[in-house]
């Protein structure tokens, strides 16, 4: 019964991981033969400023995207958790960008962010403000992408938080009301601790998703301006599939995967301690 799965696992998971490990020590461009180079790929890797810039960019992205997403998702979930009608409609509206392809979202937002003809800047100039270089200013480009990514994914987390919020027993709040607690206090002392597992899940999911950031910079900026939006995945893609430096790309991939695992472990430790 499980043999097809085991076969698949062997071929598409186990073998690649092992092969990746071997590939890291070679130089190969697919058409020539593999050439053993020992640790050379790693020597190059540690001098590869662009790779570390890419990792740095990805981390910046996460640092903006995750808190923003949690804050907005929690806010919207809180609002949806009240006694309101049309809850299904609102929920469906917020969730829509989640199911739509990232390609569509990126193309549309590229038009929103355009410098001279983009919608956002036209609104700004209409209001008498000056244009913002959403995608052309190296300091703003990555945050712009983070904003767009938040917009795209927040719906999912609204739903998850909503489920979590609805699981908080009413009488917790009632007891707090008796004690005269303010809304804010109730939120911090009752709601947040109660949904900690949900928060953790949201953080981990967003992190894993964020590390695979690729198609948005690929379409929107190609990694510019001045390498401020090149994500780690985009860089690995470039090394492996534009230049066909298979061995080097494999070592980049491995290194990057190690960083991801490290970050997830750190996150778990941090949240457990809270």
């Amino acid at each position: 019964m499980v043999s097809p799965y085991l076969l698949h696992l062997l071929v598409f998971v186990a073998f690649p991981v092992i092969f990746s490990f071997i590939l890291m020590f070679h130089r190969w461009n697919i058409i020539s033969s593999m050439e053993f180079v020992g640790l050379r790929n790693f020597v190059v890797l540690f001098q590869d400023r662009l790779f570390f810039t890419a990792i740095y960019n990805t981390l910046i992205f996460l640092l903006i995207h995750i808190p923003l997403q949690i804050a907005v998702a929690l806010l919207l979930a809180e609002m949806l958790n009240q006694q309101i009608r049309f809850r299904a409609f609102f929920r469906a509206a917020y969730f829509l960008p989640v199911v739509i392809s990232g390609v569509v979202v990126t193309i549309v937002w590229q038009q929103l962010y355009g410098f001279d003809m983009g919608l956002i800047n036209r609104i700004l100039t209409g209001l008498g403000l000056s244009r913002v270089g959403w995608l052309t200013d190296p300091n703003i480009a990555m945050p712009s992408i983070a904003l767009m990514a938040t917009w795209k994914n927040v719906g999912l987390y609204v739903v998850l938080f909503l489920v979590g919020l609805q699981g908080v027993p009413e009488h917790f709040y009632e007891a707090a009301d008796i004690d005269g607690a303010s809304h804010w206090q109730k939120f911090i002392y009752i709601t947040l601790p109660a949904i900690k597992p949900t928060i953790f899940m949201v953080v981990v999911l967003s992190t894993l998703g964020g590390f695979s950031l690729f198609i948005e910079p690929y379409i929107m900026t190609g990694g510019g301006p001045m390498n401020s939006t090149i994500s780690a995945m985009l860089y690995i893609y470039k090394q492996g599939f534009t230049f066909y430096h298979m061995g080097y790309a494999a070592s980049l991939g491995f290194f990057f995967a190690a960083i991801i695992m490290l970050v997830v472990v750190i996150q778990k430790k941090l949240i457990d301690r809270e």
């Binding site: 799965y5 990746s20 697919i30 969730f95 193309i107 038009q111 999911l205 198609i215 599939f241 995967a257």
Partner: protein, 270 residues
């Protein structure tokens, strides 16, 4: 009372923020070229010119069919194989069962970044580059699917299964005749999740498919947006994006409850 008003306006403002870009996209794709960059939602005249131009430039219909083919195949495959393994892990007893379960959990934690390059090389060596196989086979097994089915099957009463065995049913028959009809929610959930994620997948097709005949829809639209073939016509780019979004929009408007439920439960399983 005031509070309600603020609440509703906030929620509505939020809804608008999430819906407006899509509405604008569709309306701009139907607008004449000069009006595309305008902010208003209703163009003075509706025209299909952008769509016609796009159809002329790229084989978007073909891409749609490719996406459909791949998504349906993978979904079917995932449903079959994941339920098989889920069944085995929940109901069958054999040596190494628990070990396999832990292996599955472990592979879920592996970031795909490690396996991407070697998987590509594998595809090339098999000769599957630029074939449907490259798009379908690597996705045939979904660990998430396995876990969900396992979870769901564990709740099905053992008597049903025993009764079928007594009747002389083989394992596969049990799976398809007994378990499947009783697990529609799981099937729907895994089905929707798989379909959506394969439909929207774009990195992998970009890597293994380079001929236009086999490109998937998101891939084609992405390349169209990045490359120069739109001839700088924004309307055409938006038309292609709109076309990519519309099938999902339609499915979503009918089945949004299932979509949301599926993705929410998958998140909870983590």
């Amino acid at each position: 009372m005031m509070k309600k008003f603020v609440l509703y306006s906030g929620l509505t403002a939020g809804a608008l923020m999430f819906l407006y870009p899509f509405i604008w996209m569709i309306s701009a794709s139907l607008a004449p070229e000069q009006e595309i960059a305008s902010l208003n939602l209703l163009p003075t005249e509706f025209t299909l010119r952008s769509y016609l131009h796009m159809i002329d430039k790229i084989p978007i219909g073909r891409a749609f069919i490719n996406s459909l083919l791949v998504s349906v195949s993978v979904t079917a495959g995932v449903l079959v194989f994941s339920s098989m393994v889920g069944y085995a892990l929940s109901r069958l007893h054999f040596r190494g069962r628990d070990m396999i379960f832990y292996i599955i959990l472990f592979t879920m934690t592996l970031p795909f970044q490690i396996t991407l390059i070697p998987q590509y090389i594998l595809i090339v060596e098999f000769g599957w580059a630029n074939t449907y196989l490259a798009l379908i086979v690597p996705y045939l097994v979904s660990t998430l699917g396995i876990l969900m089915f396992r979870q769901y099957f564990m709740a099905i009463p053992q008597d049903l299964i025993d009764a079928a065995r007594i009747d002389g049913c083989g394992e596969l028959k049990i799976l398809f005749r007994i378990l499947w009809p009783n697990s529609v929610p799981a099937l729907v959930t895994v089905g929707i999740l798989t379909f959506m994620s394969v439909w929207n997948e774009v990195l992998w097709p970009l890597i293994v498919i380079r001929t236009e005949e086999l490109m998937t829809m998101p891939q084609m639209v992405a390349l169209f947006a990045v490359g120069g073939r739109a001839e700088s016509q924004l309307g055409t780019k938006l038309a292609s994006a709109a076309l990519l979004a519309i099938p999902v929009l339609v499915a979503y408007s009918f089945f949004q409850r299932y979509f949301i439920q599926s993705m929410a439960t998958s998140g909870l399983k983590e």
